[in-house]
Amino acid sequence: MHATKISIQAFFSMALILLLASGLGACNVAPNERQTLRLATTTSTEDSGLLDAILPEFEAQYDARLEVIAVGTGQALALGEAGDADVLLVHAPALEAAFVADGHGTQRYDVMYNDFVIVGPRADPAGIRALVRAADALAAIAGAQAPWASRGDESGTYVKELSLWQAARVKPAAGAEWHYSLGQGMGATLQFANEVGAYTLTDRGTFLSQADHLPNLVILLGGESIDENPDPALYNPYGVIPVNPKKSEAINHELALRFSAWLTSVETQQRIADFGAEEFGQPLFHPNSEAWRSSQP
């Protein structure tokens, strides 16, 4: 008798958990008949906290729900190409241009920019601290065979790195002992560089937001803020691209266009300019839309 009683208890506690779980789930799905917009973007925009800071405004203004998929630029473009996202916010100008030219996106609009910097160990074994061009720094690192941590993925940062190697006229041989191709995200790559004392290319925002955990790394080329960055090749522009509605009937093109217009409007651009200024002492992203540029004296 006793055994059956407990077994009923156990059964009910299991059932309760199931019920609770499915109930909680249902709450999230049921109430909104609002339009949804699926935004595929790079990890840097989400991880920096920018999207959390500005997107609620859009959701309220247009009574819409944003679904943010934060992945590498390569994957974001692939999602767009398959029609699995309505709009993209990415940072790889050459790939973006090809994406629009191939008819996957309708148009690309300037949104904002920040910059890349080269970070490395304080001791700076390759002696890049005094250099002006990132390509020269990479050549010096290769020459000294100093450890270099490479993203090695299809991220916007990696695309930039490849263009810098090309400008440096150095082709790091696969398997060269000093060249680590990690295939990981920016955070993991920075942690790796911090642990092994390697140089790496990073966007300034990610480095600033994680600097607390990276005691061994300092910015060696790029200066303390974007205004001090000596190399225009380290410029890192972000663009917004509505996905071609011909990809799928499910694409919400109208809302994607509204989102693009909202993101590039002067008001939103001002919010982008203000973001992070307090926490990091400098903005992480700089507004750059057409509307913003023409509003500036």
Binding site: F11, I69, D84, Q210
Partner: protein
């Protein structure tokens, strides 16, 4: 070391304050995992039992090798496969499941099913065949015999379910790909851990990991208690 201590404090704080975002993420983690576990148990248990008890199975070695290989499926590969199926450019696009909990459950069923089935086969196969003959001789029907064998193999069967639960509640590669880690919609504990790690919020990430372990501990405790109640305790 400081981060580890911070994370402990953070975990306690999150749980003590019933952080609404955390509760929602926990709820979704349980919902997805338990749904996937239920489906794979309902399919895998009878299938595994039948496979383990059947005297002659055509190409048994091949079937078993396939099942055991299924246990080695890399979750990211499962995720990629499910993504390609559910994508708007894929063959099952009409379901409109991509980046929803349904897609996450589908991927987790594929991961859990070989585990439940394979371990059930092993558990049932370990039951003395004489028992079956005896029960049969006492006049039991095929179904009744199967139930007796399952009861005898219950420890192994419970292990099968527990192993599948452990594999999918801690899984991140597949749910990240097909769920998209959308806040308030498909974010679960594991994908939240990845996000916080990427953001450099190590203490919070570790705290979420502790919450996940706590959940798994409670679930396994319930499972063991359930096992005891059905007479596993000697």
């Amino acid at each position: 070391m400081q981060t580890i201590l911070d994370s402990l404090r953070e975990a306690i704080k999150l749980l003590a304050t019933f952080d609404p975002e955390l509760l929602e993420i926990i709820g979704r983690s349980l919902q997805v995992t338990l749904a996937a576990l239920l489906i794979s148990t309902v399919i895998g248990l009878p299938f595994g039992a039948a496979l383990g008890m059947a005297r002659r199975v055509p190409a048994r070695a091949g079937v078993m090798a396939t099942l055991y290989t299924g246990m080695a499926l890399p979750p990211v590969v499962v995720g990629l496969f499910v993504y390609l199926l559910l994508s708007r450019a894929g063959p099952l696009s009409m379901l409109d499941w991509l980046f929803t909990p349904a897609a996450m459950i589908s991927a987790q069923v594929i991961i859990a099913l070989p585990l439940v089935t394979g371990l059930t086969v092993a558990a049932v196969g370990g039951v003395d065949t004489d028992l079956r003959l005896q029960v049969r001789a006492l006049g039991a029907t095929g179904w009744q015999t199967a139930l007796v064998v399952m009861a005898e193999a219950r420890v192994g069967v419970l292990v099968a379910v527990a192993a599948a639960f452990g594999a999918i509640i801690s899984e991140v590669g597949a749910v990240m790909l097909v769920g998209g880690n959308i806040a308030g919609k498909t974010r679960v504990l594991t994908t939240a851990i990845v996000l916080e790690t990427r953001k450099g919020e190590f203490a919070l990430a570790l705290a979420l990991g502790m919450v996940l372990l706590l959940l798994a501990f409670i679930a396994n405790g319930l499972l063991i208690r359930f096992g005891r109640d059905i007479g596993m305790e000697r």
